[in-house]
Amino acid sequence: MLTACVNGTDHPLPSDPRRTLLDWLRDDLALPGTKKGCDHGQCGACTVIVDGRRMNSCLSLAQLHHGDSIETIESIGSADKLSVLQKAFVTHDGFQCGYCTPGQICSAKALMQELSDGWASAVSDDITVTPAITKEELRERMSGNLCRCGAYSNIIAALEEVLADHPLHEGASA
C-alpha cells in the first residue's frame, strides 16, 4: 500500500491517481489550512513542505508521495499556539484577507532552511558564497507566493524580525 506521513501520522494515499496532493490534504484528510488559489502552480497558496522542501501541492499527484513526510500549516502552529513566524506576521500585518498566509508561512519556514544551507538566489551578487540576507534576497526568495492584498512589504518585515531575533539554526525551526 502507498502511504505518506502527514504532520507525523501515516496515511494511505488515495486510490485515484488523479488526486493531487492538495486535494488529498484538503478533502480526504480534512486539512483545509492549505489553500487552493490558482491550482496551476502560479500563486503559491498551496505551498506545503515535503521532506523539508517547499513545493506547490496543486501540481503534484498524491500517489507520487509514497514514503514522503509532509508538513502542512496545521503542524506549524494553531490559534492557541502560534509559531514564531505566525506571531511576526500578526505583529507586522503580514496579511489582510489571509488566504495566501498558510502558503506564505510554509514558504517562509522552508526559506529559512535554504538560507541556513547557504543556497544562493537570482539576486545574489556572488553565487559561489553564502549570500548575505538582505531585503532584496527575501523578496526574491518569497516571489513564489502571491498576495493579492499586497501585504508584501509587511511579510518581508515579519521575516526580517524573525531572522534578526533567531539565528538561522533556530529560525529554521521557527
Binding site: 491517481p17 488523479r18 493531487t20 491550482d39 496551476h40 502552480g41 503559491g44 505551498t47 515535503v50 522542501r53 517547499r54 513545493m55 506547490n56 501540481l59 503534484s60 499527484l61 500517489q63 507520487l64 509514497h66 514558504s107 522552508a110 526559506l111 535554504e114 544551507d117 547557504g118 543556497w119 544562493a120 538566489s121 537570482a122 545574489s124 553565487i127 559561489t128 523578496r139 526574491e140 526568495r141 516571489s143 513564489g144 507566493n145
Partner: protein, 323 residues
C-alpha cells in the same frame, strides 16, 4: 483530468519497459500535471520515475554528470555547479519559483513544453497540440513568441532557462531506450517546428533521459542575463547565456546561447566566430547582433524582441568582457 493509470518504476529498465507499452514518464510533474488539468496533455498511462535513482551529481575528469532526476534546486545549490559552472546555477535560479525548483527535475526541465497561450487553450488552433489544426498565434497575441526558427505551422518558443545555459556550456544529453543508450549534444536535442511542431525534441518513443553531462569548465566568465516583464517568477522575453574568455584584451573564446528568442534554445556559430579575436566595443556588439538577427522575423506583438535582443546581447557582452 482525464482518467489514466499510474505505475511506479523501480529502475530505468522497468521505466523503459513501461514506456514501450505506451506509458508517459512523470517525475516532478510541475508541467505535465498542469497540462493534464487543462487536457492539453491526455496520457492514458503514466509511469513514475521518482524511484529509479538517477538523482546524483558526480564529477570526473570529463566534467560533471547531472542525473536526470536531480531537482533544479539541488543542481543550483551544488557547490561544484556554483563554483565551476555558475552559468547553469544562475540560469536555474532565474527560472520559476523556489517551490517549483524543488520539485522540477533536470530531465523534465529539458522536456518542458511551450507557454504559448494558444497551446494551452484547447478551444484555439494549435499545430503543436493538434497537428493540422492551424496556428492561432501567428495572427494572435504573440508577444512572447519566437522571431527565429519559426515555420508556417508554429512560432512558439521553448520557454526555459536551464537548457539555454546548458547549450552555452556544450552539454550532452544522455538517454537510454529500446535501441540502447545514446548521447545527444544539447544543440541537437530540441527540434525546430518545421511542419511537425508536435515533437519538441529528438527523443524517440520509449527513450528516457538518464543524465546531462557538462564538459570541463572553460575558465571563462559566465553570465546569464534574463529580460522579463517582472523582476522574478516570470518567463524570459529574451535571455542570454554567455561564457567568454578574454586574453590580452581580446575575446579568445566565446559561447553564446539565447532563450525565448527562437523556437528552440538558440546558438549561432557565426556570431561567435565574428567576436573571437576582437576587442570588445559597442560597435562590435552591434555587428554581432546584426549577424544573430539577420533572419529574425517578428509577427507583430513580438517585433520588439529584435531590438531588445540586440541590447541584451550588448549588455551581456559588456558584463562578460569588462574584466
Amino acid at each position: 483530468m482525464k482518467a489514466f493509470t499510474l505505475d511506479h518504476a523501480d529502475s530505468s529498465a522497468s521505466a523503459i519497459t513501461a514506456m514501450a507499452a505506451g506509458a508517459r514518464t512523470i517525475a516532478g510533474g510541475t508541467n505535465l500535471v498542469d497540462l493534464m488539468k487543462l487536457q492539453v496533455e491526455v496520457p492514458d498511462k503514466l509511469v513514475s520515475i521518482r524511484s529509479i535513482g538517477l538523482n546524483d551529481i558526480t564529477q570526473d575528469d570529463d566534467g560533471l554528470l547531472i542525473g536526470a532526476l536531480v531537482s533544479n534546486a539541488d543542481c543550483a545549490a551544488d557547490t561544484r555547479v556554483r563554483q565551476s559552472w555558475p552559468l547553469l546555477a544562475k540560469a536555474i535560479l532565474a527560472g520559476a519559483s523556489p517551490q517549483l525548483r524543488n520539485r522540477a527535475t533536470t530531465g523534465g526541465n529539458l522536456c518542458q513544453r511551450t507557454r504559448c497561450g494558444y497551446f494551452y487553450d484547447t478551444t484555439q488552433a494549435c499545430n503543436k497540440r493538434e497537428p493540422g489544426r492551424g496556428c492561432a498565434a501567428r495572427e494572435g497575441f504573440n508577444r512572447i513568441h519566437a522571431v527565429l526558427g519559426t515555420s508556417e505551422a508554429c512560432i512558439a518558443t521553448y520557454p526555459g532557462d536551464m537548457a539555454v545555459a546548458m547549450l552555452a556550456l556544450d552539454a550532452v544529453v544522455l538517454v537510454d531506450g529500446p535501441g540502447g543508450a545514446r548521447e545527444i549534444p544539447i544543440a541537437r536535442f530540441h527540434r525546430q517546428p518545421g511542419d511537425d511542431p508536435s515533437r519538441d525534441n529528438v527523443l524517440e518513443d520509449g527513450e528516457l533521459i538518464t543524465a546531462v553531462r557538462l564538459p570541463a569548465p572553460t575558465g571563462g566568465v559566465q553570465v546569464y542575463r534574463k529580460v522579463r516583464d517582472r523582476a522574478s517568477y516570470a518567463f524570459a522575453l529574451v535571455s542570454v547565456a554567455a561564457d567568454v574568455t578574454m586574453v590580452q584584451g581580446r575575446i579568445a573564446r566565446c559561447a553564446l546561447a539565447f532563450g525565448s528568442l527562437g523556437t528552440v534554445p538558440w546558438r549561432d556559430a557565426a556570431v561567435e566566430d565574428l567576436l573571437v579575436g576582437e576587442t570588445p566595443s559597442p560597435a562590435l556588439y552591434t555587428r554581432a547582433a546584426e549577424v544573430l538577427l539577420k533572419d529574425a522575423r517578428g509577427f507583430g506583438a513580438n517585433d520588439f524582441k529584435i531590438p531588445l535582443t540586440a541590447r541584451a546581447l550588448a549588455a551581456t557582452l559588456h558584463e562578460a568582457t569588462k574584466g
